[in-house]
């Protein structure tokens, strides 16, 4: 190793501020739409009502942590059905694989909350302080009354958005109208205020000040995504074989790039796409809009900066035409992801519709495995949990079927019925008795099936279990 005679390099540097210029075009319009829809979903969802009868909350989407229920419109998820959530997470993962392998970092560029809120914050910034040039001037000028006023106005609006963002989050976890009333009258639980406070702070800082640094330094996703892209993945790139050598319009021998820096000026990440694919690029496609605009003005074809695949680059360098976009999208890898994604999705929907309204779990009590009664009969005990997932109280009848002479009894009642209130679970101790000398009493183990019947709907369900007798194994 040798050390050149250069000054010791700085390992830390101040952030170079980014002042994205306003741009208009097809991708910018798409981004506006996605921003409107995603923010709309986020802010409005907790306020949608859904009638579930008198015993249950009427909030369409509710994560009821205290009562351990998750409500999503007509679906109610109990804790023992958490595999639905696991399934959704698997789908989310596969969906990201699919979109990333087909379209690169579209999640980062269009849908990631960091991108959406930063976009919103930049919109506010531009509205109050003006476009790029005005903001650069304002940045460099000394603090005076105008700068102070503009900065304070901007921060105030940012803060309002941040509070609304943090505020909307807590509404997902409890009845929204009640919580809003409690919040404004200062009667809400401290956890609600703390959560709003933390989310307000992160939204304000991440959207207003950290911005692209979150993607570059904090987020693991850019690193992971790179591993999921291949030469067929469509991503934002610069056609340097068409643009280079760059030069002012009319320069002899120059390519199509007139080095107007429009692509650099609109970039919210503060990078130059002409340097090629880079970790900091979130493929928001605003540079495409900016460049297309310039190309139209100078009468050159659009697409100097464009969505293209690496394999297209190779082809175009050889003078061939780019392949059809669908040929990039439909390939074994994306079809595999689509198949897996659909399979999990269909499995979840089928499971959702097939799930039983009656849910019974049977846990044999193994300490002791059996009890000898005074008349010599052998008794086994089972902890039976009955869940009533209906919206009204239900009455369940328990019975058993077995080849052996077994009798069923319930603790605390002479009947064989258990009342379970709506949306609740009841633990019932169930006894199964084999008379003295019966085969089940003398055997080591006897198979047995416990049945439950909903006396209202007459739905039946069963669980198989075993009966332990005195016999040795």
């Amino acid at each position: 190793m040798s050390t050149a005679d250069t000054p010791e390099p700085q390992l830390y540097a101040a952030r170079e501020p980014v002042f994205p210029r306003r741009v208009s075009g097809a991708f910018r319009n798409l981004k506006w739409w996605i921003m409107g829809i995603t923010l709309g979903i986020y802010y409005i969802t907790p306020w949608i009502r859904w009638d579930r009868g008198p015993n249950l909350p009427d909030q369409a989407v509710l994560v009821d942590l205290a009562n351990r229920r998750f409500f999503f419109f007509m679906v109610e998820i109990w804790p023992h059905e958490f595999y639905f959530v696991a399934g959704l997470l698997i789908m989310a993962g596969l969906g990201l694989f699919l979109f990333t392998s087909a379209l690169g970092r579209v999640w980062c560029g269009y849908a990631c909350p960091q991108t959406v809120w930063t976009d919103l914050y930049i919109l506010v910034e531009r509205w109050i302080e003006g476009d790029r040039n005005a903001r650069v001037r304002l940045w460099h000028q000394k603090w005076d009354a105008r700068k102070t006023r503009l900065r304070l106005t901007k921060w105030a609006v940012w803060l309002l958005i941040a509070v609304a963002t943090g505020g909307a989050w807590v509404f997902y976890f409890t009845d929204a109208p009640t919580l809003l009333r409690d919040l404004v009258t200062f009667n809400a639980h401290p956890v609600a205020y703390t959560t709003i406070g933390v989310l307000t702070a992160t939204t304000f800082l991440f959207g207003g000040f950290f911005r692209e640094q979150i993607c570059i330094y904090a987020c693991p996703w850019p690193r992971v995504q790179a591993a999921m892209m291949d030469e067929e993945t469509i991503t934002v790139a610069y056609r340097d074989w068409r643009g280079e050598p760059r030069g002012k319009l009319g320069t002899e021998g120059a390519g199509d790039c007139i080095d107007c820096k429009a692509c650099v000026n609109v970039c919210p990440m503060g990078i130059d796409i002409r340097n090629g694919q880079q970790l900091a690029c979130i493929t928001c496609a605003l540079c495409i809009d900016a460049c297309d605009d310039v190309m139209a003005k100078i009468g050159k074809p659009r697409g100097l900066v464009d969505y293209i695949a690496l394999s297209d680059e190779t082809r175009e360098r050889q003078g061939l035409a780019a392949r059809n976009i669908w040929k990039h999208i439909f390939r074994p890898r994306t079809l595999l992801y689509t198949t897996l994604y659909s399979a999990v999705g269909i499995a979840l929907v089928v499971a959702l519709f097939l799930r039983q309204e009656i849910d019974m779990t049977v846990a044999p009590v193994r300490n002791p495995t059996f009890v000898t009664l005074s008349d010599g009969s052998i008794r086994n005990t089972y902890d039976v949990r009955l869940r009533n997932m209906n919206l009204d109280d239900r009455r369940f009848h328990l019975s058993l079927t077995s080849d052996a002479l077994l009798r069923i009894q319930l603790e605390g009642t002479d009947e064989l019925v258990v009342d379970v209130p709506a949306n609740e679970m009841v633990l019932q101790r169930v006894y199964v008795v084999a008379p003295p000398g019966a085969p089940a009493a003398e055997a080591h183990r006897t198979e047995l099936r416990l049945w439950v019947e909903d006396l209202q709907s007459t739905d039946r369900a069963y669980r198989d279990t075993t009966f332990n007798g005195k016999g040795e194994q």
Binding site: N275, G376, R379
Partner: protein, 293 residues
């Protein structure tokens, strides 16, 4: 972005380190606020050890300026739970013992609280599953055979005062005498075979026939003429399938010769009335609980 590996004046910024003639290291400086955050965590760490218990000393750690302690937190939490349970515990104490089972909320509370009391105080002898220790004199609480009664009030009395102890004047008491001094060896063998016959076990018919008179003279006053037992004295039923000290000929003989008399402590001194009622409800609900006539 601060300063990525982008060409500046056609020159990529490197750290200046060169290996193997042409391997260079790009310099991608971190943002300076990152460094400040690092310093802040150091300051935070130092402040934390001053504010909270941290540095181990000889007898205990430095207490910290905020006076925080996990033990105090546990004490607070226990107080909070006790306060929260105070009203339902009062209801449990005020209720008729027989009425507890008919109040679902009270019953549920008593069963859960009773299970905890049982695990802490009773399981050492009666076992975690309440099955007792067979043939060793720790009764099984799951079956339908009760020495001193199996209704909720009898269980409550037994738990409160215990059995054959010197600590509580109201303890249940009885004592089976040792018949080694009263009966001859032959007579004891005859009695044992008669007792075997009561529960329909294999026995010597001749010995048993001789033992009947001996049983009526010596045992029936407590165990009953037919060996059905007597709950006022805690005298076990000798005709059923359940044996406190074992039902074999050897075990029965041993019990006649030198009886064991089980002891249970009174719990009024260790447990609150609410806890005793809770554990009585729990034991009553284990499968052998009897309905009060």
């Amino acid at each position: 972005m601060s300063s990525p590996n982008t060409p500046k004046d056609g020159q990529v910024e490197t750290t200046g380190h060169v290996w193997d003639e042409d391997l260079e290291e790009f310099n991608n400086p971190l943002p300076r606020w990152w460094l400040w955050t690092f310093y802040l965590t150091i300051i935070w760490g130092v402040a934390y050890t001053i504010a909270y218990p941290a540095w181990p000393l000889i007898s205990q750690a430095t207490p910290g300026l905020l006076g925080y302690s996990t033990r105090a937190e546990v004490a607070t939490e226990i107080t909070r739970v006790e306060t929260a349970n105070a009203s339902i515990e009062q209801r449990l104490v005020d209720a008729e013992l027989t009425a507890i089972a008919t109040d679902p909320e009270l019953n549920q509370f008593a069963l859960n609280a009773g299970a905890a009391v049982f695990r802490t105080n009773c399981s050492q002898c009666h076992g975690a599953g309440a099955a007792g220790v067979q043939a060793s004199g720790y009764p099984n609480l799951l079956d339908d055979d009760w020495l001193w009664g199996g209704d909720i009030e009898a269980i409550h009395t037994t738990v409160s005062h215990g059995i054959r102890n010197d600590l509580d004047p109201d303890a249940r008491f009885s004592e089976m005498p040792a018949f080694a001094d009263v009966l001859s060896e032959e007579e004891i063998a005859q009695t044992a075979d008669y007792v075997l016959s009561l529960s329909g076990q294999e026995h010597d018919a001749a010995l048993a026939a001789a033992g009947e008179t001996l049983f009526l003279d010596n045992c029936a006053s407590c165990h009953g003429d037919a060996g059905e037992g007597m709950r006022d004295l805690g005298a076990p039923n000798l005709g059923d399938a359940i044996w406190l000290y074992g039902g074999s000929r050897e075990a029965i003989t041993s019990q006649i010769v030198a009886p064991r008399n089980g002891v249970m402590p009174p719990w009024t001194q260790r447990l609150t009335e609410a806890e005793i009622r809770a554990v009585a409800t729990y034991v009553h609900g284990l499968g052998g609980g009897e309905t009060l006539e």
